[in-house]
């Protein structure tokens, strides 16, 4: 700080009376002050403009411009604090009050006592010193604030790029609203297209708000996008995200989240609710299922993929899944009342058209809050199961072009490997490295997934698809599958992939899957038209160029032709 206690202070003496000025100046000189004289208010204003003045002793009654006007003019023009002490012969209270009103800081009535004047000057200078101190500190804080803000803006841009979401829109069925309480947000929404062309979405809420809460979003986003793109199952992805968060976050921080996965091949919704408020499945004007939290939030305890509790429900076109973080329930109005669950559930009851649901909830909440400042982030999300969905662009094909080649891969999996891990992501990665197919990675993955499920679920585990016909059935089917997989002693699946070039620069990929099961009487199943239904093969047949059931019904071959564009 530049302030020097021994610095000589400059006093401006303003009085039209020469004698008064001489007396005052002599006194100031004796006390060790420098001084400048002015004969009236106007002169005083001029002097203050052109000199560094520390304190002003100001007479009231003067020609040209009186003390009141001078005080007003000086205080309005000077940004720094220059104390003004009025020296006046007037003693009536109204006149003294006017001194302070017009901008004076103190007054002394004439004839004044020298000791008293000196003390008043000292006191005023002390206050001026405090003012100066505060001003200097404020300037430093202002500058630092500006720096922090600029850094925040930069970080926010980077952050948004990393946790970006470009899957929102009419064509994907996903919509959401986030109202960040501060620049960064403890809430998180991540979305990615899954292998069935449906959506996998994470709705997350970190403990706390702002930057420290947002930090955890980066590793989660990273794991989510990369593993979902590589076709890992969402439980494997969550297992990985959970261990990342345990590793990175301090003990008291965690992420409550909901994972929502829409399987478009089977029209099934899977939800893992780990610490979020209830999520609702809405159909034809009513809630048909409530997904309650059944899992520990992420970042607290080590979990294996089988420890996540998944809830499933069949989907019909037009169904809507609504999820929110606790911010919306705890949104408060100016009286401090919370919006609460009941008000939200009323909206579900009173809305007839599904399309209006999302906006109705948001507007009812904001109507309730009437602009009151919110203490938590408010995030609401809706996924609508549309009959047709479209994703803006397929960024997967930005892969550099590889020269097509001939190759073959073979995998042989026994029951232990089938139990322990999901081989499909690895096969898909291998295929993508060897030969990015221009006609679509997603559909190839769907073909492979369905063929694999056919071999495992029906061939080896002998599960009956008709179990899946009821809403509860899919869940039973899934649980039964886990149970049989654990207890099964024998079984194996052989997978062969074979790629051959064609003359036009494209190629033909053959997929051959054979299981150790008994097969089925595929020649006499149902009518010709539906001969594959119930074994997931109908979809395979519609996605690839050609498909055949072979042997005793325990092998399937699919052929996938592609051409260079």
């Amino acid at each position: 700080m530049s302030f020097d206690l021994n610095e000589v202070k400059n006093v401006l003496v303003v009085d039209d009376d020469l004698t008064n000025r001489i007396v005052l100046c002599a006194l100031l000189k004796e006390s060790g002050y420098d001084f400048i004289e002015a004969k009236n208010g106007e002169e005083a204003v001029q002097v203050v403009e052109n000199n560094h003045i520390d304190i002003i002793l100001l007479d009231v009654m003067m020609p040209v411009m009186d003390g009141y006007q001078a005080a007003k003019a000086i205080k309005s023009r000077q940004s720094r604090f220059i104390p003004i002490i009025f020296l006046t012969a007037m003693t009536d209270e109204a006149a003294l009050a006017k001194c302070i009103d017009s901008g004076g800081d103190d007054f002394l009535t004439k004839p004044f006592n020298h000791i008293l004047l000196n003390s008043k000057i000292d006191a005023m200078l002390r206050i001026a010193r405090l003012y100066k101190n505060i001003e200097e500190k404020n300037a430093v804080i202002k500058e630092k604030n500006l720096q922090v803000q600029q850094e925040m803006i930069l970080t926010k841009k980077l952050f948004e790029k990393i946790v970006r979401n470009d899957l929102r829109g009419d064509s994907t069925g996903l919509q959401y609203s986030m109202s960040p309480m501060s620049m960064f947000n403890g809430d998180l929404i991540l979305a990615e297209r899954n292998q069935t062309s449906g959506l996998d979405v994470i709705l997350g809420d970190f403990t706390g708000h702002g930057l420290s809460a947002a930090i955890g979003a980066l590793p989660v986003s990273d794991v989510f996008h990369s593993m979902t793109q590589k076709c890992f199952s969402f439980v494997d992805m969550l297992t990985e995200a959970n261990s990342k968060l345990i590793e990175l976050l301090p003990t008291h921080m965690f992420m409550a989240m909901g994972l929502i996965s829409v399987d478009r091949s089977n029209n099934v919704l899977s939800v893992i609710n780990a610490g979020l408020p209830d999520m609702y499945l809405y159909r034809n004007g009513e809630i048909i299922h409530t997904f309650k939290s059944k899992n520990i939030p992420l970042g607290i305890s080590k979990l294996t993929s089988s420890q996540f509790e998944i809830e499933m429900h069949t989907l019909e076109y037009g169904d809507r899944l609504i999820g929110a973080t606790d911010g919306i329930m705890e949104a408060n109005n100016p009286e401090g009342e919370m919006y609460g669950l009941d008000r939200m559930l009323k909206i579900f009851e009173s809305t007839d058209k599904g399309e209006d649901l999302f906006d109705s909830i948001l507007s009812s909440c904001s109507y309730f809050c009437r602009g009151a400042e919110q203490t938590d982030d408010i995030t609401l999300l809706e996924i609508c199961h549309l009959e047709n969905i479209e994703f803006a662009s397929d960024k997967e094909f930005s892969n550099e072009q590889r020269v097509a080649s001939d190759w073959a891969l073979q995998f042989s999996l026994d029951i232990k490997s089938l139990r322990q891990f999901d081989v499909l992501p690895y096969i898909m990665q291998a295929v993508n490295q060897l030969q990015p197919l221009e006609s679509g990675r997603t559909s190839l993955h769907t073909v492979l997934t369905e063929m694999f499920a056919n071999a495992l679920d029906h061939g080896i585990l002998k599960l009956d698809s008709s179990m899946k016909d009821t809403p509860q059935g899919y869940m039973d089917f899934y649980q039964e599958k886990q149970r049989r997989l654990e207890s099964m002693q024998d079984g194996s699946i052989q997978i062969s992939l074979n790629h051959e070039l064609n003359e036009e620069g494209g190629g033909r990929l053959s997929l051959h899957l054979m299981d150790s099961g008994e097969g089925y009487d595929f020649k006499n199943t149902n009518t010709n038209k539906n001969q594959y239904s119930g074994r997931g093969l109908k979809l395979v047949s519609s996605l690839c160029t050609e498909m055949k059931v072979l042997g005793k019904g325990n092998a399937v071959a699919a052929y996938y032709n592609w051409n260079k564009k």
């Binding site: 403990t207 965690f254 409550a256 610490g275 979020l276 939030p297 607290i300 305890s301």
Partner: protein, 101 residues
């Protein structure tokens, strides 16, 4: 808002009572209350009977207490909670990682 701490004479249990709102404002007081208390192979009891409200930062504080207790081979038990607080604890599945009773 306040926190009181009672340690049993046998040194096998300590009870923390949280009165009022259990939220971020108690962060320091809550930690101070247990950090110098070592219950070995015993139990830390958090008495929530006087707690009106509990937010996610309180859940975080409970996890810190759990970490402290586990480093002394002790456990944490939550008691006396209202239905509303029970609901919050259940949503977070804290019944799976703490003893409720």
């Amino acid at each position: 808002m306040s926190i009181s701490m009672t340690v049993n004479s046998d040194n096998k249990a300590a009870t923390m009572k949280v009165i009022g709102r259990f939220d971020f404002s108690l962060h320091n007081d809550f930690r101070k209350a247990y950090k110098d208390i070592s219950i070995n192979a015993g139990q830390y009891v958090v008495d929530l009977s006087g707690t009106e409200y509990l937010d996610s930062s309180a859940l975080g504080m409970l996890l810190l207490l759990k970490e402290h207790a586990e480093s002394h081979s002790s456990q944490v038990k939550l008691t006396g909670y209202s239905d509303e607080i029970k609901e919050i604890l259940t949503i977070a599945s804290f019944d799976k990682i703490f003893t409720l009773g």
